[in-house]
């Protein structure tokens, strides 16, 4: 049985992980993609499944802002069986596919890597298993494995992937001359400095979220609202709720909530998390959302300061591209406390109706279609 506090332990281990691993990752990936290949990049595709797909979404804005080529972050099935069909060896090393799978054995991600290579793309495998199928399908491999830790719904492997992808974006931008070496190094320093920011966020958020979890333990579900980089965090929050607590959960863009989820009948039974970082361009829309949520009777919390929020967890401001790293820690704490409050077994214990997923079989043992 997994220790129900192991998820909380994973969250509180993140500051040390970021401090220890950021420069190690930087050192490993710096020369992993040859300079001529980096200069040939025309399109970048970030893919994975589950947390790994979300990691791509979390880093997408960094690529978009700094690298200067079109970038798309998508789940592995859509990337593999729809997107990659549009490439046909027209340009060298196109697309550049950064495929993440900590185990390296998620069939769909392996399939995407193989299809990208067949289409003339350049594949970078981000994995913790250098002997895996993903590693074998990749031209460059980066070890994103976190040091061993007691099992829990994963947080450490997600943060490792987000750090690595952001570092790749910085490196591509630097080599392609889009940013200077000094600017690149400053950005890397910001990433490494997230260790202290995450520590502060944990100290600020832990007690209020423990209290909130007690209030929310009997709710039907939890929804997460965010936009831009925070949309990734919204997705990550859903992932942790589903894995750790098993409640219904969904993520939706901050704007789209008003067009869609606003109309849910069971409003008072849906805990709602609004992600609106300090300094974000979406703050004004979040402030407009607040009275609507209050009128609906939704129990809700703002991660960030939103006007009229019943509960606000204010976390230190960072560059918004890097906010998902900090938000992940906070959302992991919420899931951990809800897991304690509900007494739920993570992953439903992989027993009964969920026995099929034991040992990752449902993600690993799938036919690869090329």
């Amino acid at each position: 049985m997994i220790n129900p506090n192991a998820l909380h332990d994973q969250a509180t281990s993140l500051p040390a992980l970021i401090k220890e691993q950021t420069w190690r990752l930087e050192d490993d990936l710096r020369k992993s993609v040859p300079t001529p290949v980096q200069h040939a990049i025309r399109h970048i595709v970030l893919t994975g499944s589950g947390d790994s797909a979300i990691a791509g979404l979390a880093a997408e804005q960094t690529f978009r802002r700094f690298v200067g080529v079109p970038v798309y972050a998508g789940e592995s099935l859509a990337v593999s069986r729809f997107l990659l069909d549009s490439y046909g060896n027209e340009y060298p090393h196109t697309p550049m596919l950064l495929a993440t799978s900590n185990s390296g054995e998620v069939a769909r991600v392996v399939e995407a890597a193989q299809r990208a290579a067949a289409a003339g793309g350049y594949v970078v495998g981000l994995t913790g298993n250098a002997q895996s199928r993903l590693a074998r399908a990749s031209q460059s491999i980066i070890d994103v494995g976190a040091p061993a830790f007691p099992a829990a719904p994963g947080m450490r492997s997600y943060v490792m992937a987000v750090l690595a992808l952001n570092l790749f974006a910085i490196r591509f931008a630097e080599v392609r001359g889009r940013i200077t070496m000094d600017e690149a190094q400053a950005l890397r320093g910001e990433l490494a400095g997230l260790s202290d920011v995450v520590q502060q966020a944990i100290v600020t958020a832990d007690a209020p979220l423990r209290s909130l979890a007690q209030d929310w333990r009997d709710l039907q579900g939890v929804e997460f609202l965010g936009s831009g980089p925070s949309r990734a965090s919204a997705a990550f929050g859903v992932a942790k709720i589903l894995e750790a607590v098993g409640k219904q959960s969904a993520h939706v863009d901050l704007e789209e909530f008003i067009h869609l989820n606003y109309f849910e009948r069971a409003a008072t039974g849906i805990g709602t998390v609004v992600l609106a970082p300090a300094g974000s361009p979406v703050r004004s829309r979040a402030d407009e959302l607040a009275p609507l949520l209050n009128n609906l009777g939704r129990p809700w919390v703002a991660i960030g300061a939103v006007t009229d929020a019943p509960v606000s967890i204010e976390i230190p401001q960072v560059r918004e591209e890097f906010a998902p790293v900090v938000q992940a820690a906070v959302l992991g704490l919420l899931a951990a406390h809800l897991m304690d409050a509900t007494g739920e077994e993570p992953g439903r214990g992989a027993v009964g109706p969920w026995a099929d997923c034991a040992d990752g079989a449902t993600t690993r043992d799938s036919q690869i279609v090329l």
């Binding site: 300079t35 200069h39 001359g177 070496m181």
Partner: protein
């Protein structure tokens, strides 16, 4: 006496550092001796160039780029193509200069000045100036 001079470069250009060198010599009080300038960088260099026409300085930097362009096929890939080219240029041109001090001034031709040559900018740079007096003859 050794003095340190920070320099923020804005790009790959030639930066006039003669005023700082002259000031260091004056402050040293040395009348007869040597002044050595050192740029502790591997992608920058020092050069003595004619300064009257700014376009002439551009010619010099343009020729450096023509001779050793920032191509993507350098074996050194740790940083950027410009950095790799900068290492080659710095080695070719050299990051140190020693000049004669006489009558309390740097001995230079009327068209000559010392320039800091940036090959991997923009960067935070520095250079050092050391002034040494000729040994005093024993009485």
């Amino acid at each position: 006496m050794t003095s340190r001079h920070p320099l923020q470069t804005n790009g790959n250009e030639a930066y006039d550092i003669q005023p700082e060198i002259n000031e260091a010599v004056t402050e040293s009080g040395v009348q007869e001796g040597l002044v050595t300038i050192v740029a502790p960088h591997t992608t920058a260099a020092l050069g003595i160039i004619s300064y009257h026409d700014p376009l002439g300085l551009e010619d010099v930097m343009d020729e450096f780029q023509r001779l050793v362009p920032a191509r993507i096929t350098f074996k050194h890939e740790h940083d950027t193509p410009q950095d790799a080219a900068g290492h080659v240029l710095s080695t070719m041109v050299g990051p140190t200069l020693t000049l004669i001090v006489t009558g309390g001034e740097v001995l230079l031709g009327h068209s000559q000045k010392v320039f800091f040559l940036e090959f991997d900018g923009p960067r935070k740079r520095q250079f050092f100036v050391k002034v040494t007096a000729d040994p005093t003859p024993e009485a």
